[in-house]
């Protein structure tokens, strides 16, 4: 595997082979790439389905969503069902620090890409297998997508409690969160490898990650055995847990501490509620969450969003306006911090993307790479691996590389 030059960022010099598709794997490897790792995205000839799954693109295989999850990566197309294609992938992995896949374990084993086989090839390799379900459980090996995991893990169940019917978060939330956790785990393993000098295998199961997320939030009184009460955090499960209507839009106000709650009651002209036993303490407000929300609903409808924001700001009551997805593009704070960045993509033209949210004082990745068109760097990467022009031509001839 090549030296890719200096990227900057905490993961500078970390080489990642990325055999993932859709969201869970790509957000993992993008998190590594954004922080300086050199990521090579290996695609099968049919390509990552996310290239075509979302509408609104300039060329058919470069959806905006694909671009967003695959920036800062280079791309190679290999048909690993062909022995020469698989050999090229193994040569890539032999020189890598990290191999990430979201292929089902049986498929990895068939291709000799399981952790044990690859440890023999590269003992320093960190092998991160993102799966739908952890090994050892009866769902292991089943196919899954985000809504399957939202359905099983209790994410949809939180809405059932809040609004009376199960729903999904309208994002691929469990994919996205699991990918972030996988990148976290890879960082921890990279740290350990600096101490031990040897790699390891990590398993990151989406269902367990999502169930752990929900349990941390909503196991609540059932954390005790026997339970001390029902599951669920009542503050979050109220039907009124939402931005609330003002006279001209919406506002979110969240007086949490006693001081904030008391300031809020003053602000809405109901100082007598400071002494109301339903609202006097944090635990009382939790137990009377529905009543507390009703007080807010009644008050907030009386003034405009701007008027309330001014009133709450003066009293240090946490409050904010509500942004639609489109409003994000105009949010003044995001403008201040240069959140939206312009990019000239070599084939897709002028783009905008959200910059990395986290900043590292020790130095950040300097230059961004454009999300690759399929096979964009196939020849370049094969050449870096030591393939001669004639060998590359032969791989292309058989369709093993494209």
């Amino acid at each position: 595997m090549p030296e890719g030059g200096s990227t900057g960022g905490p993961l500078e010099g970390v080489r990642v082979v990325d055999l993932t598709t859709v969201v869970v794997g790509p957000i993992c490897t993008r998190s590594l790439a954004d922080q300086g790792a050199e990521v090579i995205k290996v695609e099968a000839p049919e390509g990552d389905i996310l290239r075509r799954l979302a509408s609104g693109c300039r060329t058919p295989s470069m959806s905006g969503k694909f671009i967003n999850f695959n920036r800062n990566k280079r791309g190679i197309t290999l048909d690993i069902k062909r022995p020469e294609g698989l050999a090229a992938l193994r040569r890539l992995i032999a020189g890598a620090d990290v191999f990430v896949s979201n292929v089902r374990p049986a498929g990895l084993r068939r291709a000799g890409l399981d952790a044990a086989s690859l440890a023999a090839l590269n003992p320093r390799l960190i092998h991160c297998g993102i799966t739908a379900f952890g090994s050892g459980g009866r769902y292991a090996g089943r196919p899954a997508y985000d809504p399957i995991i939202q359905s099983l893990s209790g994410v949809a169940g939180t809405f059932h409690r809040a609004v009376g019917e199960p729903r999904f978060v309208p994002m691929v939330m469990t994919d996205h969160v699991t990918g972030l956790v996988a990148a976290q785990a890879i960082g921890f393993a990279l740290y350990r490898r600096e101490k031990t000098g040897i790699g390891e295998a990590i398993e990151v199961p989406m269902f367990e990650v999502a169930a752990s997320f929900v349990a941390s939030e909503h196991l609540g009184a059932a954390s005790f055995d026997p339970p001390e009460g029902p599951t669920g955090d009542a503050r979050l499960l109220s039907p009124d847990y939402r931005p609330l209507p003002t006279s001209d839009g919406y506002i979110t106000v969240h007086p949490n501490s006693d001081a904030q709650a008391h300031a809020f009651f003053e602000a809405i002209g109901r100082p007598e509620l400071k002494a109301d036993p339903r609202f006097a303490t944090a635990i009382a407000r939790t137990e009377n969450a529905a009543d507390y929300f009703r007080v807010r609903v009644a008050a907030l409808a009386q003034r405009s969003t701007a008027a309330w924001l001014e009133i709450f700001a003066a009293r240090d009551v946490p409050a904010a306006r509500y942004n639609t997805i489109d409003d994000l593009l105009e949010d003044p704070h995001l403008q201040d911090v240069g959140f939206w960045q312009a990019e000239d993509h070599p084939t897709e033209g002028r783009l905008r993307h959200a910059r990395t949210a986290v900043t590292f004082g020790g130095g950040m990745r300097a230059a961004t790479l454009p999300a690759p068109r399929q096979g964009m760097q196939t020849d370049e990467i094969l050449a870096e691996l030591g393939y001669s022009p004639a060998e590359i031509a032969a791989l292309r001839e058989t369709g093993a590389a494209r």
Copy 2:
């Protein structure tokens, strides 16, 4: 700072001083603690508000939610408004690898706990400041809680598009995700410090993290400048994007690839839809997401959940039952993998918790520590810092330690 003995896990030997409350900081440091770091939770005399914010506990300051977010940590109570309390905290930080706070930056500066001041004390320190809003933007320094960030970042906006009114995810999702990202960033910085020998400052702003999450999902056609169409991933923004009713409950079915979609149409007895131009390809199904959902709604109501699951399993169509929050406790796969673990807490009695979702082949944290009662290890930790019994008594006398 003490050696805390060998924990096992990739972060064994990493010493973390945790000046955080509620969820965003505690899930960050729990992620570090679960993977072997030694985390010392420093609390003000009034304690982390999460101790009392959730109902259902055996003792008033040990809510289930607090316990879930604070396992594997030791606790010390210091009044850092008193000089001796602040001095003890600085002595802790002098021997630490990581300092995590979710205190507003102005408060950190006032106490001399900002990155520059602490780098002078400990040049190897990784200083992770979790903030509501990034520095340099006009919202910087404002107070915030999760719903404020859900309101501003477009998370609530996704529901507006899906169901006609903004709502929050009924979890402290942006806190939780930002904390996971903060732990990820700390892992990356620990890795870099192995190379450079010096620490650094990391800023993790909740708003920017959440806006990046939403943008990756829903910038869509507005990733292009000028936009190629509206923002939003239409597949996720359908009002029918939810577990769908069967004759006796709910089911989630998610045929994504062409093969899965075609198998699904066969399974529901509508093979003619395989050739329907609305559904023949992934991009067509995306563009006709609403119609595609209507087909599912009509079909699924005809049979029971169990009958459908058997039919879909036979055809390898991704499908799953729907679990309420309570169902999670009985899920058979989670039982198989030992997801729910029993714990005997020294003061709270028999508990259950979700085990760490990610597994590391190179070794995991061996023993879990109980979530601390407030100040549970105050004396022990002060003694490890070199305070004599008389000095500890003096600190307790003034209320600087409790």
